[in-house]
């Protein structure tokens, strides 16, 4: 792949069959692939949601209360319900795919993929417990 391709007279026509926009609807693994890709949109939405929360907290207790009321509106709840589904889906698929992307060798032997995925899930549990403890603990 160097630079732009050049076109000139009598160049043979490229054989490039046009793919349908909906090529991924045909088979289950393709649909799952696209759903994983789409999860990133909800990850981005949740970043915005977190930043709105941070901004509300920085503006005082009243603004925090307003944010909580807003977050209980049906439209926002619905969006967050869908987001929760996609974010959990992203989390599970990402952590279980990691050993396929990352082959770890230890003393010349491959660390079993299940062990890496297991360590990832352990990290997820630790992170979740930490978040819950920070927000809910010590009452």
């Amino acid at each position: 792949m160097t630079g732009r391709s050049t076109y000139h007279d009598y160049h043979p026509r490229w054989l490039r069959p046009r793919m349908s926009t909906y090529w991924w609807l045909g088979r289950r693994p393709y649909v799952v692939f696209i759903l994983r890709e789409i999860s990133s949109v909800f990850v981005a939405w949740f970043v915005l949601y977190l930043l709105m929360l941070v901004r509300a907290v920085s503006r005082g207790a009243g603004a925090y209360g307003d944010f909580l009321d807003w977050s209980a509106r049906p439209a926002v709840l619905l969006l967050n319900l869908v987001s929760a589904f996609f974010i959990v889906f992203h989390g599970i698929t990402w952590l279980s795919l990691a050993p396929k992307a990352m082959v770890v060798q230890l003393r010349g032997k491959r660390v079993p993929p299940a062990l890496i995925a297991g360590a990832n899930y352990a990290a997820l549990v630790v992170a979740s417990v930490l978040v819950a403890w920070l927000l809910l603990g010590g009452r």
């Binding site: 890709e37 949740f46 970043v47 977050s71 992203h90 990402w94 992170a127 979740s128 819950a132």
Partner: protein
């Protein structure tokens, strides 16, 4: 050519954001997105939440989470449009909007969490 040299960095940001969002977001979205609004659990009191958010480690973790997750989105969404929906003729605009959005969001996150 500059684009080719930056590509490995973009993949690195994509995967770092993938890991951070996979670890931290499920609990956060279940709590702030569902459990608190639906009153399954008591939301944290204002003073407590402010204290947690103002801790330097929380600020650092949240800036990292927001920044890397946004670059994760930018990179993945760009390829979703390219491969999934076959939108190839708008490449330049899509790239500018995705990475530009990620940069803008990261700056907003840093601003909000430093000023807090």
């Amino acid at each position: 050519m500059a684009k080719r040299q930056i590509e490995p960095l973009l993949w690195l940001l994509f995967s770092a954001g993938g890991v951070l969002s996979a670890l931290l977001m499920p609990s956060l979205v279940l709590l702030f997105g569902l459990a608190f609004p639906l009153h399954w659990l008591h939301e944290p009191a204002y003073a407590r939440l402010l204290g947690v958010l103002r801790h330097p480690l929380t600020r650092l973790a949240l800036v990292a989470l927001c920044t890397l997750s946004l670059f994760h989105w930018a990179h993945r969404f760009r390829y979703t449009l390219y491969d999934g929906l076959q939108i190839k003729h708008l490449n330049e605009i899509v790239n500018t909007l995705c990475y530009g959005g990620a940069i803008a969001g990261s700056l907003a996150a840093a601003y909000l969490l430093v000023r807090l």
